[in-house]
């Protein structure tokens, strides 16, 4: 049976993990490669590097980070944040990323999805959708949730799929950082609307939240950062919990 994936997100700036990391015994807590290695031992299914810096100099730093992480783990590796052009994507993939995640760039230039899907295959193209509840719809925002787009999350997810996206990374702006749980209703609405995997993000605070998003949320994968970083709860514990709830996971 296909397992539900647990994906760890590393927020990186200038080659360092910027969100608080609290792994016991991890000497250089800000080192993305050391953290990825630790996650690998813990049984993580996939790693996302979210590199928010996007200046020309930082592109080299990003390539270095990707190569360092890719050297440590033999797991799927996705890179997002600041992938604006085909060249950015090519540099990330050349450095060792298996997938790139596009957000604002895809909204500004949807053709980029098709271009990258043709060049690297759909499996390499993840569309990150940041959405917020507005009345009875889910509105898409660009620029890290700062700019409205007049797009509806369900319609945009469908369009991205048609254009060649391989997965949707759906973040609830309302829930992000709240630790009150994923937006299961929104996740299920998007997941049911497309025939490609949907990764839920935003709001994970407890292990129960993961069980909810894999159940009622119809999510194929769930992404989290701070639950592992701040609460010192391990991926292994989470997987044991989910296995007990009969959620198919890799152990």
């Amino acid at each position: 049976m296909l397992s539900k994936r647990i994906i760890a997100c590393l927020d990186v700036r200038d080659g360092k993990v910027v969100k608080g990391v609290n792994f016991e015994g991890l000497r250089d807590a800000g080192d993305p490669a050391a953290l990825a290695k630790r996650y690998n031992v813990e049984g993580i299914d996939e790693i996302v590097i979210l590199d928010v810096t996007a200046t020309l100099e930082s592109r080299q730093a990003r390539a270095h980070t990707i190569a360092a992480v890719a050297h440590e783990i033999f797991l799927p590796l996705c890179v997002g944040g600041g992938i604006r052009t085909e060249d950015d994507a090519a540099a990330a993939i050349e450095a060792g990323a298996d997938k790139v995640s596009l957000n604002t760039a895809a909204l500004n230039n949807p053709d980029l999805i098709t271009t990258l899907a043709k060049r690297y295959g759909s499996q390499a193209v993840i569309i990150a959708v940041d959405a917020k509840r507005e009345g009875d719809r889910f509105a898409v925002y660009a620029r890290s949730g700062q700019a409205g787009t007049n797009r509806d999350a369900i319609e945009w997810a469908r369009e991205a799929t048609d254009r060649g996206a391989g997965e949707i990374l759906l973040t609830s702006i309302d829930r992000d950082g709240t630790k009150i749980g994923f937006d299961c209703e929104m996740t299920a609405a998007v997941s049911d609307a497309v025939n490609i995997p949907v990764i839920a993000s935003g709001g994970a605070g407890t292990f129960e939240h993961f069980a909810e998003v894999f159940g009622a949320g119809h999510a194929d994968a769930a992404l989290a950062a701070s639950i592992f970083h701040f609460q010192e709860r391990s991926v292994r514990e989470l997987k044991a919990f989910l296995a007990e709830r009969n959620v198919p996971i890799r152990r």
Partner: protein
């Protein structure tokens, strides 16, 4: 060579000596495979012309994406690969590379596979009919119908990473199966020809083990 006739050799015995031809026909990026091979002590290079294949201890046909891209493997390449296989050089197809070892795929009906294994690859939607998402992306478990060198030491139920929409049928040469609405060939092995539908280079320790098993035959 039939199973059981060759003692299992540890890949480390060949550390630094095994040279693997990574056939680049433009189907996606080869960085991950190259990196995984380096991790188990093999050196990978990408031949620019089919004639260079002669110095390979083993040949890998990797690939993600569309079956149509295997069109780039012209008669010259096909002949060179077949000749090497006939000489006993191990061949491994990964993902689309495995599919190419079969007779063809409905993804590109006019493109012929190498036909080393019987059968044609089909898209999952023909079987799963909307009940499951396509592509099949993520970690899924393996079942081994028989003992093979490729899957030696890999436990029943071990999970590996898949990302594909088309799959090969289960045949006599199937070394591992996986179930996604339909049971398909996750791995095949006959003599020195092997293939994996999953990505061993992305499948953690299990994947490296499988690559090591295959490398052990490349001398």
């Amino acid at each position: 060579m039939l199973e059981g006739q060759a003692p299992f050799e540890d890949a480390s015995e060949h550390k630094g000596f095994v040279v693997i031809a990574l056939v680049d026909y433009g189907a996606g990026n080869l960085t991950s495979v190259r990196k995984a091979l380096a991790a188990i002590g093999a050196h990978a290079w990408t031949p620019t012309v089919a004639g260079e294949l002669g110095r390979a201890h083993g040949i890998i046909v990797p690939g993600v994406g569309h079956f149509d891209s295997t069109r780039a493997l012209t008669t010259e390449w096909r002949t060179a690969i077949r000749t090497m296989v006939d000489d006993g050089v191990p061949l491994l197809g990964i993902c689309v590379g495995l599919q190419w070892l079969f007779e063809g795929s409905t993804e590109a009906p006019d493109v012929e596979g190498l036909s080393l294994f019987k059968g044609t690859c089909h898209i999952f939607t023909e079987h799963v009919n909307g009940r499951l998402k396509v592509p099949h992306v993520g970690w899924n478990s393996l079942s081994m119908p028989r003992q093979t060198r490729l899957m030696a030491g890999v436990k029943e139920g071990s999970q590996v990473y898949f990302t594909h929409s088309y799959a090969a049928p289960v045949v006599d040469d199937t070394a591992a199966t996986c179930d996604y609405g339909v049971r398909f060939s996750a791995a095949v092995e006959r003599g020195n020809v092997a293939g994996v539908q999953f990505h061993p280079e992305k499948s953690g320790d299990v994947g490296l083990r499988i690559l090591s098993n295959w490398i052990a035959d490349a001398v």
